[in-house]
Symmetry: C2
């Protein structure tokens, strides 16, 4: 596969020109990784129509040459990246007006721009790189698909090990070990293992609670491969499912399947959200589905586009999004079923191939 | 143990008064947790001499009442926390000049203050709460000690399972599962398992590399208990250690022990750093110890105070800090030995009780 970075930088440079900027200072690490391939955690990047300048610290001396050496001019700083920035900027001719990333710079560092960087004019920019990142290329989709496969294989192994009497933390440990054994580079977010009434908390963390017969067990987790994330959720019943378990589960399952099959390139995010939401509302559970249907995934586990009631934008071709309807009955339990879907020109393709039928464990 | 939060808020109010502020807007989640106990990830907090106002979203409706209900007035927002902020601020009488946390607010949100919040005057503040957090109370030290014990027990179990042929990712999986089994609520930072030449990378991540005879195996990881972190590193040899392994290891071990025993309340951070650094320099490895000696730990895995060449401040009583000297020979391997130490009036106490003698595995 050819190196995708030159085309990404060229697309950004087009955006800068349209915004009347001589260059852009990047401080968001995922945006920097997208443009350069750098996987470390300390970097500043400047992109102009002529130059790509990369500034990092001595800890990444070896790594940065391997990852970034063929795409950017590298500057290694002993102490402050910002001192390196001023030095590098003075070498760039006819660069006077620079953008900065308003969503990725702390006020403290913004103050550096207006004080130590007063020689240049600084303009806030929004989502210049994020918008490019919405449309995944083949290599990106392949990595997300790998991360989805790691997640489904890890879940399969985990379900064989779960039994009554384990704590949520222990289940998380089994799941996370399986993710590592399958090759996950890390955990894109803290795994959620929530059982019984805790499965009704839309933002639960794993706890010491012991799993009991008749519990819902909700597992929301992801893998990371080549820097790209997957994000999936399955909810199972420990022991025999009651009629009420089945009723709630089936509503969520059908909502998931309708949305995962019905989402299309060009559709507004709110219309995708509505596919699942209207089904859940008609079933009488609308009040119990309090969050959005989904979000983009890629280098970050939450990125554009959004699938939500307030999302008016059209979904672009190549976007990879989660489809994650849920129904949560406080004090009793909740169900969420989440898949990762890539939006192709020929329709949606589900990356997280794992059964969606209700599983009764043990 | 009595509730520590009222005294913390009172100490902050003293600081506000000294800074001629009518109140402080808090956006840093660890600072918010310290003052209120809130463990979620979406919150704004306003503290004045008369009021404590807490703003979160509907997902935390149940949790916030339990965690924060007795210390703050709670406002639950359906959409934007910021809309809730303006509404709440207008109810606070004689509040005109407010501080904000310059290190914990993105420029995008700072723009909200100067635009939608233009009715009030906004002043940047630095480390008002961080300074309070440096001195841990008994309850905090107990939680960090628990997190240290979880980490040492997990390492003990992991070393029994490690063998030639496992990948670094597999070792990370075993270690992380053991941390969960011992009760860790999460991972304060991505575990580092680095073997052979990769142990010389001061910022390695775990990789698919297979462990071989004669490798150094470096493990840098932590646990979380009650929101508080531990952070420890041990380096072992796979198989029989060579003379060179032993020479490098012993330098780091003695540097660790001297610093862990020699660090004192009131000592400047740079003088603590110098205990280990001078020993390593005299042994001829000064160039290969490229990072600082240590940092505070608590609700965050990196917090004040710093133990570094540039740290002039005196170390406060009750601080919990890491002591983590290392020697890294590029292309060959590296050793780091890291412990967590609480600074008592009667001297330092090591929380991570785990052997520091060189271990040869298998």
């Amino acid at each position: 596969m050819s190196d995708p970075r030159p085309a990404r930088i060229a697309a950004l440079v087009d955006g800068l020109s349209a915004a009347h900027l001589d260059g852009l200072l990047l401080t968001g690490l995922s945006n920097i990784r997208y443009l350069t391939g750098f996987s470390g955690t300390s970097a500043l990047l400047v992109v102009t129509s002529r130059d790509v300048v990369f500034i990092t610290d001595f800890r990444y001396q070896t790594q940065v040459v391997e990852e970034v050496g063929d795409i950017a001019r590298i500057s290694i700083e002993a102490s402050s990246l910002w001192a390196g920035l001023w030095q590098q900027l003075t070498t760039l001719m006819s660069v006077r007006v620079l953008g900065f990333e308003t969503a990725h710079i702390q006020h403290r560092d913004f103050q550096r721009l207006v004080e130590a960087g007063a020689r240049w004019q600084w303009r806030p920019t929004v989502d210049l790189v994020e918008t490019l990142r919405e449309r995944k290329d083949e290599g990106e989709i392949a990595r997300i698909a790998d991360a989805a496969n790691v997640a489904t294989r890890a879940l399969d192994r985990t379900l064989q090990a779960v039994h009554v009497g384990m704590s949520e933390l222990q289940v998380a440990g089994v799941l996370e070990k399986a993710l590592r054994d399958e090759g996950s580079e890390g955990f894109p977010f803290p795994s959620i293992v929530a059982s019984g009434p805790r499965s009704a908390l839309p933002h639960a963390r794993s706890s010491p609670r012991t799993i009991e017969q008749g519990d819902f067990l909700l597992m929301d987790f992801g893998a990371e491969v080549g820097g790209y994330c997957s994000d999936m959720t399955r909810t199972v019943v420990i022991g025999k499912a009651s009629d009420e378990h089945r009723a709630v589960y089936d509503v969520v399952r059908v909502a998931n399947e309708r949305a995962a099959k019905g989402v299309r390139v060009g559709m507004a995010g709110r219309d995708a959200d509505a596919i699942a939401r209207q089904y859940i509302e008609r079933a009488g559970y609308g009040e119990l589905f309090g969050h959005s249907l989904g979000h983009g995934i890629g280098l970050e586990v939450h990125e554009a586009p959004r699938l939500a009631r307030t999302a008016e934008g059209g979904l672009p071709e190549g976007a990879v999004v989660t489809i994650e309807p849920g129904v949560y009955r406080p004090g009793w339990g909740g169900v969420r079923i989440e898949d990762d879907v890539v939006l192709g020109a020929d329709g949606p393709h589900i990356l997280t191939q794992f059964p969606r039928e209700l599983i009764e464990l043990g």
